[in-house]
């Protein structure tokens, strides 16, 4: 049987929304290399889009002159995507997910990014340090988001 590849890549880019599509292409390709099918690679890509966009909009307040590093680490068990920045930190305690039933009734725009990340990845953690990091993991044998 063909052995699944392992390894890590990283790319650093300016905090400008023009680079978001490039970032999700990297994440999607990493998911494919890690052995995930197209449907799961798309979920990894969307979660990465939301994570990078959150950093640009909230951690860096929309400034496009900062840096973001995207890391993708493939292990025998999982793919971990890390979005690293030096802007305002978000902690796990800060994360408030919407009640989707109420959200849809209220027809209120916005606030879905973190929900998408949590739905499409198996684990999402916000790490605070010298550099801050949104760390999202997809396990090879688990897909809780359906589809």
């Amino acid at each position: 049987m063909k052995e699944l590849p392992t390894g890590a890549i990283q790319v650093t880019f300016p905090s400008d929304t023009v680079y978001v599509h490039m970032a999700i292409t990297v994440a999607s390709n990493a998911a494919t290399i890690a052995g995930f099918d197209k449907a799961i690679a798309s979920k990894v890509a969307l979660a990465t889009d939301e994570a990078v966009t959150n950093v640009i909009k909230h951690a860096y307040d929309g400034r496009n002159d900062k840096l973001i590093t995207l890391k993708a680490e493939i292990t025998p068990e999982s793919l971990t995507v890390k979005v690293v920045h030096t802007g305002k930190a978000l902690t796990n305690e800060d994360v408030k997910l919407p009640n989707m039933e109420k959200y849809l009734k209220a027809k209120k725009p916005g606030g879905l990014g973190l929900y998408i990340m949590k739905q499409f990845m198996d684990e999402v953690d916000f790490l605070v340090g010298k550099e801050h990091c949104c760390q999202m993991t997809k396990y090879r044998l688990v897909d809780k988001s359906g589809g």
Partner: protein, 125 residues
């Protein structure tokens, strides 16, 4: 239009049909919103978005749809979607947006569903 998104609108039967080509994310969402607002400003409240060439949509784009649905419903209109790829359908389905927006497999099915529709509201709450 910014690189990454093109929107083309045309009138077909009862609906203004928007053809979306590319992806809707934080970089392109303003163009998407402008296109929708342009249609609404002409008092077209019967809108079908054909997603055949929509690569993906993120939460910014979904926010635009949420932001206009009430105005459309208040004007007895509808916002239908069709021809979604698996990626786009999956995000709508996961978030429950398929309960708020009527989704058709194909544009022709959406247009067929409108035949004989009166001026009364056709959106489903």
């Amino acid at each position: 239009m910014a690189a990454g998104l093109e929107v083309h609108a045309t009138q077909k039967d009862e609906a203004k049909v928007l053809y979306i080509n590319g992806f809707i994310n934080a970089h392109t969402v303003q163009d998407f919103e402008r296109s929708i607002q342009s249609v609404l400003s002409e008092q077209n409240y019967r809108i079908l978005i054909n997603c055949k060439d929509l690569e993906y949509i993120n939460s910014s784009g979904l926010g635009v749809l949420m932001g206009v649905i009430e105005e459309i419903q208040d004007n007895n209109g509808f916002l239908y979607l069709s021809d979604m790829n698996d990626t786009v359908f999956n995000i709508f389905d996961t978030l429950g947006f398929t309960h708020l927006f009527k989704v058709f497999d194909a544009e022709v099915e959406a247009l067929d569903s409108l035949k004989g529709v009166s001026d009364s509201a056709v959106n489903e709450d």
